[in-house]
């Protein structure tokens, strides 16, 4: 009975703690190999893209092939800078969480390109419906870092009045929807939002992100079904970082070849791209955005990446996967790859990179100081206590008025 032999099939990850990960057998389409159809093609033309892998940066960090978005060095440096900032910010916040400055934190280490490149390829007014792991979008859109931190430490300047867990940002001004703790709910919402954009005859589109594990939720199906039926101008991103807390991507994916392939079953354009390749993410997003703006409907993008660190501050990944897996992962590190690409083009060097890191570290440290001057979760000041009764409705009814009295605030 306990012989480890299952009578139905339960997928196991390729490697568990103690194993030596070896990804040499992974048959990934070479960078530059995927053709780039016109963004207005029928979804059928994306079949091979859904099981292939759109890549631009090759193993020599050169940009190759039809998907090369031909970005200026300036834009690339900007992307690099946002990704570096994202990583340094994440590191710092983790440390602060360990020091008890905030209740919880979630890093995006190794997945910075997925957020930053996409945000840069979209218009700043396109509405994004992210999960909790696309903080890179905020940096790319120029969100004030102090404000981000004030949210994370739930202080008196938290724009969410201390109501949300850290990293569950909202920023309407930056067209950044309110992040939910409930997985996947943003997909049908993004479809609805996109339909409303089309309804209003505006050029704006919507984009949403969920993880590989979250594709299993009913709301994934809800979102794609809506988009297929109404040809909503929305981009659905599946960030396949291969882990959903402790469960490997194969628990959600089952016997499907890729997550992108699921889009084909809805008649949606579907592309799998190298999520650690800034240029590939940029190019795929650009393609999907163009398609959406042309009225050709939604695209499902799978961005193949690796969750470089723990799921959140609440788990220890060495308990369920090899420590060395990230290093062995053949698609590498998005920051390192873009950096090498720029260096290869003579548009960057190690010194400038070190300096960038220094600057960003200084910015983060300085910002945190300022943020802390507005209070911290444990020491306050927080938003006024009575604010817990606000925003439940446009106007509080008798129940909330009485309850506020009962609490004596």
């Amino acid at each position: 009975m306990s012989n480890g032999q299952s009578r139905f099939h339960v997928p196991t990850p390729p490697y568990r703690p103690g194993d030596e990960p070896d990804f040499t057998h992974l048959d990934l389409q070479k960078a530059g190999a995927a053709p780039r159809p016109d963004p207005a093609v029928g979804w059928e033309e994306t079949r091979d893209l859904a099981t292939g892998l759109v890549g631009v940066l090759d193993h020599n960090h050169q940009a190759v092939g039809a998907w090369n978005p031909e970005l200026s060095a300036e834009v690339l440096r900007e992307g690099l800078s946002h990704m570096v900032l994202t990583r340094i910010y994440d590191e710092r916040m983790l440390k602060l969480q360990r020091q008890g400055k905030m209740s919880f934190y979630m890093k995006s280490t190794g997945e910075e390109a997925v957020a930053v490149a996409a945000a840069m390829a979209l218009k700043p007014t396109d509405m994004v419906f992210p999960s909790y792991r696309q903080q890179g979008i905020l940096f790319a859109r120029g969100r004030n870092i102090v404000d981000m931190m004030c949210h994370c430490i739930s202080n008196s300047r938290d724009n969410l009045k201390g109501r949300q867990l850290p990293v569950h940002y909202t920023w309407a001004e930056g067209s950044f929807f309110t992040i939910s703790g409930n997985l996947g709910t943003q997909f049908p919402q993004a479809a609805g939002y996109a339909m409303a954009c089309a309804y209003k005859g505006e050029d704006q589109i919507a984009a949403s992100w969920i993880g590989d594990g979250t594709t299993a939720e009913g709301d994934f199906h809800a979102g794609l079904t809506l988009a297929s039926t109404y040809r909503a101008p929305v981009i659905f991103n599946v960030v396949n970082n291969q882990w959903a807390i402790s469960s490997n991507q194969n628990i959600a994916r089952g016997d499907a070849p890729t997550f992108a392939a699921k889009g084909l079953g809805y008649g949606l354009a579907s592309i799998r791209a190298d999520g650690n390749d800034f240029l590939a993410v940029y190019a795929a997003t650009q393609w999907a955005a163009e398609r959406a703006r042309q009225g050709k409907g939604a695209t499902l993008l799978e961005l193949f990446t690796y969750r470089g660190d723990a799921h959140s501050t609440s788990d220890d990944p060495t308990k369920y996967r090899p420590k060395t897996e990230f290093d062995r992962w053949p698609l590498g590190d998005p920051i390192e790859r873009l950096k090498q690409h720029l260096i290869g083009k003579d548009e960057w060097d190690e010194d400038r990179h070190a300096k960038l890191e220094e600057q960003m570290t200084a910015l983060v440290v300085k910002s945190y100081k300022e943020a802390e001057s507005h209070g911290t979760l444990h020491e306050g000041p927080l938003s006024p206590t009575e604010s817990i009764f606000e925003d439940v409705y446009a106007k509080p009814d008798w129940r909330l008025r009485r309850q506020r009295q009962d609490l004596g605030v």
């Binding site: 509405m127 909202t170 049908p188 309804y199």
Partner: protein
């Protein structure tokens, strides 16, 4: 003023809303071309176009999620769930999303919309076309819950609901779509045309959310009801001769505590009624609040007249339903206690 039944009144409300505001959109399963299985959206697609009144795939979570997304962009969606029994696949989008968008974004985004659903039993619908799931939604901060009991209110409340700017769960007592019901199983259908609240203005008007109405004044006891049971209570008062004061709650969240307390303080005796199963139904909330609010005025235990703690049965529907006779017995119990 034209006589309308509840369906016509709802249709008129939506017509008014669509006409006045291009941001209003309406959708649901069979709600487009067909005009809804109960015809509430009849002819509206034809009048306003395919993108304003349309059919959805059969996925209630998608319907609610789409409403949230559209509302975030400033549209004013009215979403139809074909039967209240089928609202459960949408409940995560309603409980965890729609109700909290304003709160969790600290007012940066809102999700003002109406989710309409035919509700309640008495139509031989069996366990999946008869539910009264209002208690679930009254327990959710951020939601308003409305149950009209007549054509005039149905129209005025629906317009007020959409104009409130916050999400409203709008349950429609389908037993009385076409006429009031006295709670006697075999009574032939009466028409709204003969009922004062069957007169419905053509144009725009609202009935205020959160306000109850004393529909029958009396001294012997207070009866709190909503939807179909408002009429059953009235029939029971007439049939039994008990001088009951009957209050039509109309809005359950937030309910009108003032009107309720005023009556209870006068009568000291209360029946609270619901069609839903007894345990943890909305009648419990009313009873709990009233005993706190009016403790010293109460002369008898508050009587909860409810459905039983069983799934809504098909053949024995009338053994489950709070009929006129059960109502009369309840009134008798509280007045004689």
């Amino acid at each position: 003023m034209p006589a309308m039944n509840i369906i016509q009144a709802l249709n008129s409300a939506m017509d008014v809303l669509l006409e006045r505001d291009p941001d209003v959109v309406i959708f649901g399963e069979d709600a487009g071309y067909f005009g809804g299985v109960f015809k509430a959206t009849d002819k509206l697609q034809d009048k306003y176009g395919l993108d304003r009144v349309f059919d959805t795939p059969i996925n209630e979570a998608a319907i609610a999620g789409m409403a949230v997304g559209m509302a975030a962009k400033g549209l004013k969606p009215i979403a139809e769930i074909q039967f209240a029994d089928y609202i459960f696949p949408a409940i995560d989008q309603i409980v965890s999303e729609m109700s909290r968008i304003r709160y969790r974004s600290a007012g940066q985004f809102t999700a003002g919309c109406v989710v309409r659903a035919p509700w309640g039993g008495g139509i031989r619908g069996g366990q999946t076309h008869s539910m009264s799931p209002e208690a679930f939604f009254t327990h959710v901060p951020g939601l308003q819950v409305v149950v009209p009991s007549n054509p005039y209110d149905a129209k005025g409340l629906l317009i007020a609901a959409l104009e409130s700017g916050d999400p409203v769960i709008f349950f429609e007592p389908k037993r009385i779509y076409n006429g009031p019901f006295d709670g006697v199983p075999d009574t032939p259908l009466k028409s709204w045309a003969k009922h004062a609240k069957g007169e419905v203005p053509e144009g725009h008007y609202t009935v205020e959310l959160g306000k109850a109405e004393v529909v029958r004044e009396g001294e012997a006891c207070t009866v709190l009801a909503y939807g179909t049971l408002v009429h059953v209570a009235q029939a029971a008062a007439e049939a039994s001769g008990i001088d009951a004061e009957i209050i039509d709650l109309k809005t359950l969240a937030p309910y009108d505590i003032e009107t309720i307390a005023q009556s209870v303080n006068k009568t000291g005796r209360v029946v609270v009624a619901q069609e839903a199963p007894r345990t943890s139904g909305f009648a419990a909330e009313l009873a709990a609040q009233i005993q706190e609010e009016c403790f010293y005025a109460l002369e008898a235990p508050i009587f909860r007249l409810t459905g039983w703690d069983i799934p809504y049965p098909h053949a024995h529907e009338w053994a489950y339903f709070p009929t006129r006779d059960r109502f009369a017995r309840a009134m008798k119990t509280v007045t004689e206690a």
